[in-house]
Amino acid sequence: MKRWQALLLYSLPLVLASGMVAAINTGIIADLLFVGRFEMSLGGLALLVSVLLAGGLIIRALVLHYDDERTKRIQTKAHEQHTSAQRRFLQRLDHELKNPLTIIQLGLANLKTSIPVEEHASFTRVEEQTQRLQRLVEALRGLADLDEIDLERESVDLGDVLEEVVSLVRASASSQHLLLNVRQIPWKLSPVWGDRDLLEVALRNLLDNAIKYTPTDGIIEIRASENGHGAVVEIVDTGYGIPTADLPHIYEELYRGSNGRQISGSGLGLAMVKRIIDLHQGQIDISSRLSEGTVVTLHLPLAPATRN
């Protein structure tokens, strides 16, 4: 819609409204001055004006609503196009990395035995960086796999999964002197509906992040509960937090927060978690305060038998 059309449409109700106020005022004055004679016509005019006003308001609401929907549709479409273009790019990148990386690894394996002692440290660094690239390629492959995967959905005991994931990360948490607490509602959580192993991957990623981005002597807390619609898992840490400017981008592939670049990671963990939660028709929300901590909240649907 052109700007002048919008202006006309939006201002119409205001013009009509002032007209109505004027008409009512005239009506009251007329009532006072010429009892009876103009009463009907002025009252009728006021009525007409109010009908027009109501009509104008309805039209305005409809136009606004339509506009809003259209903008949303355009935005969603643009977002989808952007996302799929980005995925295609990552797939190509992944593909182009594979052959050179294979050759480098083979070359390193060939050189390994003939490296003089004084060059061992240097050689090891090259090997480590190659492994880092290898991990990146594997993570990209994992992300691409999620687009084609068939979820093996079952009724999953979330308390069980949390317990397992926590037992896996406990050692790394305590080596950093982090307090790792699990809090659960006093009764057994209702089972959720999902791919147990993928949910474990998602939770594991989130806990690894919490541990990585929380300084020594911090606290990490996992809270599991449920509301009327599903299960709720919160992973709360007293870590470095995420700068507000980074928050809108944290799910993007290979995005690293501006205060997290010193800490090793693929930059794909959260993208992966987000995709896993989306595949489960769940929801993930992250709120964070710099230098205070982060709260990740997951909402997951319950298994059919326990759904209300």
Binding site: L97, N99, T102, Q105, R141, G142, D197, R204, N205
Partner: protein, 238 residues
């Protein structure tokens, strides 16, 4: 057709990247194999006829006749020379297809060079006992246990075992590679796919499921702590 102890095992490598052929070739020569290379499908078949290798390491995406077509041609001619496919895509569908068409094994690029050597050794060992790749057989039997790969069913003493799809996949992989140590990462990549490549208990959970179903024959599936799993029973295939 397999090499005896006096003769070096001959390996043909096929890939369109010349640098890869050079590095891989040199690594395999160092590891004690006799190696020839080819950079496209037609040359691969020519070299194959002349060189008569004991094993082929074959990239899927090569110019001319592609890797999978070569596997098909050889198998149709009843030639069971072991083939390890190198793939780039590595989706579960592609993996399943490679094995169905008669490849003995496959590796996703980029691979750990020593993993490739381990696989070559495993296949050479296996082939000394049976000519055909284990993946070309439908039924895998171990005493009163029968695994039907096509129907995805397992029977123990005439009773069907109720296994989840992933537990079946694990048992199938272990039986296909019976007697060999299979790492947890390997199982995760093969059966779960790359999205699951995070340290979790996923594999242990399925191993426990298999053991429970096997009952007093649970000891067929051996755990080597920190290393992986191995199927210990003697497997007949048909």
């Amino acid at each position: 057709m397999m090499s005896n102890s006096n003769e070096k095992t001959k390996i043909l490598i096929v890939d369109d990247e010349v640098d890869l052929l050079a590095e891989l070739g040199s690594l395999l020569v160092r590891s004690g194999y006799k190696v020839e290379t080819a950079c496209d499908g037609c040359r691969a078949l020519d070299t194959y006829q002349r060189f008569q290798p004991h094993l082929i390491v074959l990239d899927v995406l090569i110019p001319g006749i592609d890797g999978r077509e070569i596997v098909r041609q050889l198998r149709e001619a009843n030639d069971w020379t072991p083939i390890i496919l190198l793939t780039q895509v590595g989706t579960s569908a592609e993996r399943a297809m490679s094995l169905q068409e008669g490849a003995d094994d496959y590796l996703n690029k980029p691979f750990d060079p020593f993993e490739l050597i381990a696989r070559i050794q495993a296949i050479v060992r296996r082939v000394q006992h049976a000519g055909q790749p284990t993946s070309s057989f439908r039924y895998h039997n171990c005493e009163e246990l029968t695994l039907d790969r096509q129907k995805r069913q397992v029977w123990l003493s005439g009773k069907e075992l109720m296994l989840t799809a992933r537990a079946f996949g694990v048992l199938e992989y272990l039986m296909l590679n019976s007697g060999e140590l299979v790492s947890r990462d390997k199982l995760l990549n093969e059966i779960w796919g790359w999205a699951y490549a995070v340290e979790t208990r996923a594999v242990d959970v399925r191993i426990a499921e298999i053991r429970k179903q096997l009952g007093d024959r649970a000891d067929w599936v051996e755990t080597l702590v920190g290393q992986g799993y191995r199927f210990l029973g003697e497997v007949d295939r048909r």
